[in-house]
């Protein structure tokens, strides 16, 4: 053994220190994403999204469709029945297209999102969105796998060996393009166009209703409290739905370039004034959501909302702070979530407050 005098054994435990730091410390400080980000990096709408849907017009027909997507072109045999979805948005939109996946990744919360149809309980859970279980996926013998380059680029090769794999460029903000992409990959272009058209129509109706009610200028703020950080949402999935509904954003929450803007910012308490709007939607977990009134849902929220800065926000003074369920506002990121969000908006603007 090493016995050099200068090297007391005690010392070597210290080695552990390093390793611990290596393994532990740094990740500590990383905040975790599974707080439910429909994250989108700078990349703009995916190229694959508006790719050629024309040659696949066939409705659930047999035959093949070549799907252009973020990783290249992939041939899918129509109509795929065994579908594995590697992200929340993929799961949501696949269900919306009338297909129950055979494999899905875990939701960001303990239980499935309440807004999703009961069928979401049926599929096998194949790991997490960040680390899907490739073996479990292979065991399901899927016909097609839907993921995103943002999350799953490193697994593309292995996934492709399991089944034709289609990736969107990113997730979150590009969700509508992605719905078209998933529809194409599932040989269900028509359904895709239908659900999107229905959504657009509903969003337009809300927009006109808001105009009629004189609320077209309403500036909407979206925030979320978490134990170790607080966020303002700018674009992303929820931002795009607000935009479709014709709602405005407070000056501080407007972005110059929709496609390349960060979709959210983490802020310090000093930036509480930037949270203000005519309405503040606070995304909370479904547990908190169920607890109804009061802001004392968690420590962070309590601390922030007890400041005079918060109390001074015009939305707080007007009693226009409204809690919404993060499951469909933030975690889902598919077309069902978008419709659920519209429902919340309709309810809030058109039913609860007939006058503005």
């Amino acid at each position: 053994m090493m016995r050099s005098r200068s090297v007391p054994l005690a010392a070597w435990l210290a080695g552990a220190a390093l390793l611990a730091t290596a393994c532990g410390a740094s990740p500590d400080s990383t905040q975790d994403e599974p707080k439910g980000e429909a994250a989108a990096s700078a990349s703009d709408t995916d190229e694959g999204a508006d790719a050629d849907g024309d040659d696949a017009a066939a409705d659930h027909a047999t035959g093949e469709v070549e799907v252009e997507h973020a990783m290249g072109a992939t041939t899918v045999t129509c109509t795929p029945e065994r579908v594995v979805t590697l992200g929340q948005g993929q799961t949501d939109s696949t269900l919306a297209l009338g297909v129950t996946p055979v494999g899905v990744v875990q939701p960001w919360t303990d239980d499935w999102y309440e807004y999703l149809p009961a069928a979401v309980e049926e599929p096998t859970v194949v790991g997490t969105e960040l680390e899907p279980d490739l073996e479990a996926i292979a065991a399901l013998e899927p016909d097609v796998i839907l993921g995103s380059k943002l999350r799953h680029e490193a697994f593309y090769e292995q996934l492709s060996q399991i089944a034709p794999t289609v990736f969107s460029e990113t997730i979150g903000v590009a969700w509508k393009d992605n719905v078209s992409l998933w529809a194409q990959a599932l040989c269900r272009d028509d359904e895709g166009a239908e659900v999107l058209a229905a959504y657009e129509e509903r969003a337009d109706e809300l927009e006109s209703a808001l105009e009629e009610a004189g609320m077209a200028d309403t500036e909407v703020s979206m925030i979320r409290f978490q134990p170790d950080e607080v966020r303002i949402y700018l674009t992303g999935f929820p931002g795009s739905v607000l935009r479709d509904a014709g709602l405005q954003r407070p000056v501080e929450q407007r972005v110059d370039d929709w496609a390349t803007s960060p979709q959210l910012i983490e802020i310090s308490e000093e930036r509480i004034p930037e949270m203000d709007g005519d309405v503040i939607f606070v995304m909370v977990s479904s547990d908190s959501y169920a607890q109804a009134e009061g802001y004392d849902l968690d420590e962070t929220m309590e601390r922030w909302t007890s400041t005079e800065l918060w109390q001074g926000l015009s939305a707080v003074q007007e009693d226009a702070v409204h809690k919404v369920n993060e499951q469909h506002w933030n975690l889902g990121g598919g077309i069902l979530a978008a419709n659920a969000m519209l429902e919340d908006l309709e309810e809030y603007f058109l039913e609860e407050q007939p006058t503005s």
């Binding site: 990740p27 500590d28 599974p34 310090s268 400041t307």
Partner: protein, 328 residues
């Protein structure tokens, strides 16, 4: 003597300057006029509220936590006659932070109990490090003590990582406590801690002379009528208590307690009373300085002060390791 007084005054001036900057600079840029109005008591704009409700309490938290860490470092370095001893190098801040995080996140202890939980955790970690360092064949050596402290820190870090991997929910809570930051702490917590701090500082002042004697060697100290064992125990206990206050206020902040006493000794020599005074001023200066940099370096978000003290302090550790006259 005049030079020493000059240095102490200079250290105080530096602290005042850094404190002023910490009020003037933050993640939001405010007009200086508004800042000045706020200091004189105005509360009519967001800027005023930001200054008086956020920046000033944060500065106070930083003053107390930084002062505690600086003094704790002096006490530990004196008690162990080891220039690399400090609350973080001996595992005390890690132990305190770990205990608070676990206590608050898993056991649901009230945040007000944090200081005592941190005291128990810090003392436990220090005792473990000491025990580890003393089990070797050659007895306790300064370097071994520091390496043992590093081991204990790493052990706690590893277990924290393990817990985080298992319980995602609690992880967020724990991260908040382990962040090593002045942001988002209950600054109201400062008040009840002040008596503790005051008593500890007076005790540290009293211990300064005996520590001077100790610096001459145990035998000389005994010859001077001191009892080295008691002095060590007292200084270490005080250091753990002061570190616990810092942990309760700011989480486990590393390297302030290591770096500040060195700068102080470099400025005023080795007499403990002077080193204590200068460290009392420079500790908060370093912590507040790191905090200010952390507020602006990743706008609109913030980086924890502890990260920046580590970036500042680690090079000093490297320098000490390769240069300082530490008996290994």
């Amino acid at each position: 003597m005049i030079r020493r007084v000059g240095v102490i005054v200079l250290a105080a001036v530096v602290l005042v300057a850094v404190s002023a900057v910490s009020i003037a600079v933050g993640s939001v840029t405010l007009p200086l006029g508004e800042v000045l109005d706020a200091i004189t008591g105005a509360r009519s704009s967001d800027a005023h509220l930001i200054v008086s409700d956020l920046r000033v309490p944060r500065m106070i938290g930083g003053l107390v936590a930084g002062g505690c860490l600086g003094v704790a470092g002096v006490l530990l370095q004196g008690a162990t006659r080891n220039p690399i001893a400090s609350p973080s190098m001996l595992g005390i801040t890690a132990g305190g932070g770990f205990a608070v995080a676990m206590g608050v996140a898993f056991l649901g202890l009230p945040a007000g109990a944090a200081v005592w939980v941190a005291f128990v955790g810090g003392a436990g970690a220090a005792a473990l490090a000491l025990a580890l360092a003393s089990t070797g064949r050659d007895g306790l050596s300064p370097i071994r003590l520091v390496l043992s402290g590093a081991i204990v820190s790493s052990l706690l870090g590893a277990w924290t990582a393990g817990l985080l991997a298992i319980d995602q929910r609690t992880a967020d809570d724990v991260r908040h406590w382990l962040a090593g930051s002045l942001a988002g702490r209950e600054v109201a917590a400062v008040g009840p801690l002040l008596p503790i701090v005051a008593v500890a500082l007076v005790a540290a002042w009293v211990l300064a002379r005996p520590l001077d004697a100790l610096a001459l060697g145990d035998e000389t100290a005994v010859g001077l009528g001191q009892r080295p064992g008691r002095i060590r125990l007292g200084a270490a206990g005080l250091a753990v208590l002061l570190s616990a206050v810092a942990v309760a206020l700011a989480g486990p902040i590393a390297f302030v307690g290591l770096a500040v006493p060195h700068v102080a000794r470099w400025l005023v020599g080795s007499e403990h009373r002077l080193v204590l005074l200068v460290s009392l001023f420079l500790g908060p200066a370093m912590l507040l300085g790191a905090d200010v940099v952390g507020r602006v370096v990743a706008r609109p978000s913030e980086v924890q002060a502890g990260v920046l003290t580590a970036l500042l302090g680690a090079p000093l550790l490297i320098r000490l390791a390769v240069r300082a006259k530490v008996a290994s």
